[in-house]
Amino acid sequence: MPINVLMPALSPTMEKGNLAKWLKKEGDSVKSGDILAEIETDKATMEVEAVDEGVLAKIVVPEGTADVPVNELIALIAEEGEDAASVAASSKEKPAPAKASEAKAPEPKAPETKAPETKASEAKASEAKSLNSEAKQAPAPAVAKGERVFASPLARRIAKDAGIDIAAVGGTGPHGRIVERDVRQAIEKGVGKAPAQAAASGKPAAPSGATMAQGMSVDQVKAMYPADSYEEVSLDGMRKTIAKRLVESKQTIPHFYLSLDVELDALLALRTQINDAAGKDKDGKPAYKLSVNDFVIKALALALQRVPDANAVWAEDRILRFKHSDVGVAVAIEGGLFTPVIRRAETKSLSAISAEMKDLAGRARNKRLKPEEYLGGSTAVSNLGMFGIKDFSAVINPPHATILAVGAGEKRVVVKNDAPAVVQAMTVTLSCDHRVVDGALGAELLQAVKGLIENPMSMLV
């Protein structure tokens, strides 16, 4: 019997890979451990090793083929004693991809789904394993791990039989107990499917949400409070949008956070100087009055120009990188917030940014913004310094890749030249979408911001 060499799944989320290169030719003899081919995945290039001895009888998928589905037949190895030519010939009659891609893996406990004939190098395999163990925890459980799940015995049994993680099912019984109908519904909707099965079937869990825990239903929430202890507030469009987008953000964007302290003395001195120099208009009011936030916007815009890789957003299967720095600015308004965008902020003077912000914020408060004024941008600034907030981590506003959370400026004692010194400082925290901005890149961006704020004259040139 010829041995099927299948496209290996080297990570649980791997759906397809590119067959980069064949390192053996048809007719080459191979022995266990020989590297047959190189495969490019979303993460890395990996090697396909031979597990058995024989002769590479037929290359089914030529090198350079992109997007080869996992478990697809890529080559045939004739075993010792088999005629490689006839194996190659017979394969023409049955070019169908290996059944494995359709059939469920018999052992859902082994979700790596390594095709038995191929083997990744040990390192890669262990990487795949560790990735998988992460994936196992992926479906956000309705109940925190280790906490008791209240479910009826029947619900538990049906969930078990269906391969559903009971903890991922929302309960509608008394006090949120999970009952039969909840599990039946979960089965219909595909909630809580054990990741092992999804991986074993060679398909990643359905797109976002499908494996996400459902939030509690209105009935479940209401059941927890006496009926006369609350009033119900219906949602307006803005609240619904905020809820939807921020849930989407936290569920689909892999956030991480970087914090830095930034000294403000130079900036505050410059700001005083600039504001003092402002001419008066006909009403005797100063022509402009720059805020610290105006400087932050400008600093972030310029920083994005210096670290252009961070001036980008994630778009499903690609990254969009921008030329100009369009910076959103969160504006709190009655009942919610808007994030109008300062376009090409790197090209604008501080006074222009300041004037534009005043106009946008004013119109945001009256809900008079046009959609094109709050759509787009690759980042945003959220400043809660005026409330005395020392530092916080903001939720990225999709599709942005970052958001800069700005805390209050205050006098702090720091060590300068081995001596304590009093400086004006604030803490800024950059939330990053790891798909676009990796740790080092985010740090680079944040450092650039710090440099600009601490040497504010550079923003004037």
Partner: protein, 477 residues
């Protein structure tokens, strides 16, 4: 003109329970009735029949005193006193409902209510009652007039179905009203219909000594019960001397001065049976008339109001619960629907009742009790089942009681272990069934039931054994 949050029309078990629940939730509530608090259940149904059947049961024990090593001579009964006791039980509970309503500050409006428009109820003085003349209102009740309410719940119940040509005349052809208060003991009785009402009266009158014949249209007596249970009960009834004719129809009734002669057709042959009295127990129909429902466009179907499971009709502000909202026509179903309906109105967390989990009890001798799917229904639904049975003869307590006949049958879904149904016939089973009802509501599987400790010696051990039997683990059989 008084205005309420909720007006309930009908003070039967559905209506008064709904009213009390509404009052508990802080809603200003009134209940309208034209003849009695507690409805048919308490005055002419469940309760007074249980009082009659208790008399029959004790009479039966006296007759069988010897079986227990006792002697009782000259055992007899005074039907007047038996009936009087039954009426006394009803009247005591009727007064109790009045107290409960008062305690909960529910207004009672005396008269016939009808709905003029959503939110508006007109109450007219009742001109008659089921017992004849109009009845005196209870103390403190409000009188006829116009009332308004944000929500109106129709809970007007049901009345005996009448077959054309066999109309009850209160003298020779009875319904449960007359059968409940016989002036004298009929020597012979023909019971038309073998549902709970027909069988309970057949059992009562037979125990008290009448010659009883039961005619059932369907091939099985107690048609809603599991076939095996019904067959067991039938054998017992026949042993007691009740004559049972199934798959047959009463086609004609000829009335004489003090007897009736019924023509019975089983499709193959006709026979005539002469009896002193005939009880018509061929089901009940909803009281949907004279309520203004047609004018309001409230949807009805086969004599009942159509609701959404939470008591809402198709007309906003109008609700229906209990018998008038469709089968099963049982007091406990009405009560629960009343609670669900009011809680829905209040905006609380509610779920429509799972009608499959409503138990049914028949208080004949032997008693019948059941919940969930019968074996036939389960198979009809294509379910793969596991069935357990346990006989009374294998239970120590049953033997000690002198009740070695009967059985408990349980039906499980083979795939999930879900308890689909439980069916019982024998002594005291009406008090046992609730164990399985709780189990079903909590969605236990056979495993949990097997792990449950049942006290010894009790009849309930048979419930355990029946479950064990379904999985081949029965101990005492």
């Amino acid at each position: 003109m008084s205005s309420y949050d909720i007006i309930v029309i009908g003070a039967g078990p559905g209506g008064y329970v709904a009213a009390i629940r509404a009052a508990q939730l802080g809603l200003k509530t009134a209940v309208v009735d034209r003849e009695h608090l507690g409805g048919i259940c308490l005055n002419w149904g469940c309760i007074p029949t249980k009082a009659l059947l208790r008399s029959a049961e004790i009479f039966h024990y006296f007759q069988h005193a010897k079986d227990y090593g006792l002697s009782a001579k000259d055992v007899s009964f005074d039907m007047g006193a038996v009936v009087q006791r039954s009426r006394g039980v009803s009247s005591r509970l009727n007064g109790g409902v009045g107290m409960l309503l008062k305690k909960n500050k529910v207004d009672v409006i005396w008269g016939e209510g009808s709905i003029d428009a959503p939110g508006k109820v007109t109450v007219k003085a009742a001109t008659k009652s089921v017992e004849g003349p109009a009845k005196e209102p209870p103390k403190g009740a409000l009188g006829p007039g116009s009332y308004t309410a944000k929500h109106i719940i129709v809970a007007t119940g049901a009345r005996p179905r009448v077959l054309p040509g066999i109309e009850p005349d209160k003298k020779l052809i009875w319904t449960y009203f007359e059968a409940m208060v016989p002036k004298a003991m009929p020597k012979s009785l023909l019971v038309m219909g073998s549902g709970a009402i027909g069988i309970e009266f057949a059992s009562f009158y037979r125990t008290m000594g009448a010659e009883v014949t039961v005619v059932e249209l369907l091939p099985q007596i107690l048609p809603v019960e599991d076939a095996e249970i019904a067959a067991h009960a039938r054998k017992r009834f026949e042993k007691q001397g009740i004559k049972i004719i199934t798959g047959a129809k009463v086609t004609k009734v000829d009335k004489a001065a003090d007897s009736v002669t019924a023509t019975i057709d089983d499709g193959k042959a006709k026979q005539t049976i002469k009896a002193d009295r005939l009880i018509s127990a061929v089901g009940v129909v909803g009281n949907i008339e004279n309520l203004g429902l047609e004018k309001l466009g409230v949807k009805t179907d086969r004599g009942c109001i159509v609701t959404d499971g939470l008591g809402r009709t198709n007309v906003p502000g109008i609700y229906a619960i209990g018998d008038v909202a469709g089968p099963p026509m049982l007091a406990h179903k009405a009560e629960h629907e009343g609670v669900i309906c009011v809680e829905t109105i209040k905006g609380l967390h509610t779920h429509a009742m799972d009608k499959n989990m409503i138990p049914g009890c028949t208080y004949c001798h032997p008693q019948i009790a059941s919940v969930g799917l019968t074996e036939a229904k389960a198979k009809e639904q294509g379910l793969d089942v596991k069935i357990g049975r346990f006989p009374f003869a294998g239970n120590g307590k049953a033997i000690a009681l002198g009740e070695p006949e009967g059985m408990i049958k349980t039906i499980f879904d083979k795939k999930t272990g879900k308890l689909l149904g439980a069916h019982m016939v024998g002594a005291e089973v009406t008090e046992l069934i609730q164990g399985f009802v709780v189990a079903m509501n909590l969605e236990t599987t056979e495993e949990d039931l097997m792990h449950t400790v049942f006290p010894h010696p009790t009849l309930s051990e048979m419930m355990h054994e029946s479950v064990l039997d379904a999985y081949g683990r029965v101990i005492h059989s």
